[in-house]
Symmetry: C2
Subunit: 219 residues, 2 copies
């Protein structure tokens, strides 16, 4: 099908925005990328996502789709001619949705504590974060990707966080590789996909961004 | 298709469990209902949902599906021969998912404040709750149901809360009908569906349950 007019309102260090960028790359969809200034959100963003006022928002032929995991499902349904993202089997789809929902509910808060707090709160965030990664490592098991042989919904939903691993490690003073070696193997496999390697920003750039952000927030 | 062995681990006053019960009724699926004692969860529940340890869990041919909105999508995909729950159009599907996600993220906490707290916290919960209902009323607009002419994903996700309306009104001392008359019209329309009317518990029973629960929790 014709792609129509596709615009992505996003912010480059967002792991949620990265999901959408990877999904669009997987499908080979051409789109206009709009980087938002979150301290001064554009009228278009406020108009397209009046409820949450958050990026990412996909604007397809003038109509907005919000919430990153909902956008990824939308992309998979609209551009269904190649690179299926969700499994076709209903049970496997439900399992993939369950783990994406788990990531959505659990992973962000502890990472925020690791780079944005100190002492006990930071330690608690670190412990929680490692626990979640170990859980995901268990779900991965011996498979190449979460859904099996190729990049899928859970991979796309989790991989953006790896661009922040340097941030977590340096502020939290620990090694993710030492804690979760198999998960780091999965990261490397994901990066062999062009849709991932060409989409994810340089972790050093993310690190610099967080340094500036901490200054700005007075942390 | 044959239904297979279908078991639902649930707790009767749960508005999240009600979603699954309505979806199964819509599809005409026969199933075994297991009411859990949440103060003393069954080994089966802990085994089937080790991550969240929460009801509802649908066990289909021995395999668990967790999280109510994921279960409803699963039911719609497996028993796809009748009564479609999600719209077939990708954009409308994304919109339905967005509003179900909105209900999931926003609605429970303020309702908990209305019956479980007093003073300022209760007032804040009431204000938030009414704001959310008014938002949903705006989304409904002049349509019979959220998706149009028939009961769908958003309706099924929201309607269970109406069995708790008596609770919110009596503890919060306000009238939902006065605040949201159109939404109450929608409640009445939903109740004209047997899948809803035969599934939802008596609001008086829910009210008695909350009275006992408050005593138990020392509120």
């Amino acid at each position: 099908m014709a792609d129509g007019e596709v615009k992505l309102l996003d912010f480059w260090p967002s792991m949620f925005g990265m999901r959408v960028r990877i999904a669009l790359a997987e499908k080979g969809v051409a789109y206009e990328y709009v980087d938002e200034d979150l301290a001064n959100k554009s009228p278009l963003l406020l108009q397209m996502n009046p409820i949450h006022k958050k990026i990412p928002v996909l604007v397809h032929n003038g109509k907005p789709i919000c919430e990153s995991s909902i956008i990824v499902e939308y992309i998979d349904e609209v551009w269904n001619h190649k690179a299926p993202i969700l499994p076709s089997d209903p049970y496997e789809r439900a399992q993939a949705r369950f783990w994406v929902d788990y990531i959505d509910k659990k992973l962000y808060e502890p990472t925020r504590k690791i780079w944005g707090s100190k002492g006990e709160e930071q330690e608690a965030g670190k412990k929680e974060f490692i626990g979640i990664l170990k859980q995901m490592e268990e779900v991965l098991g011996e498979k190449a990707y979460f859904g099996g042989e190729r990049l899928g919904f859970v991979d796309i939903s989790l991989i953006g966080f790896c661009t922040w691993f340097d941030v977590y490690e340096s502020f939290g003073n620990f090694s993710i590789e030492a804690e979760c070696p198999k998960l780091m193997g999965w990261v490397k496999r994901c990066l062999q996909n062009e849709s991932v390697s060409k989409t994810l920003p340089d972790p050093k750039k993310v690190h610099d961004f967080v340094l500036q952000l901490k200054k700005k927030l007075g942390l």
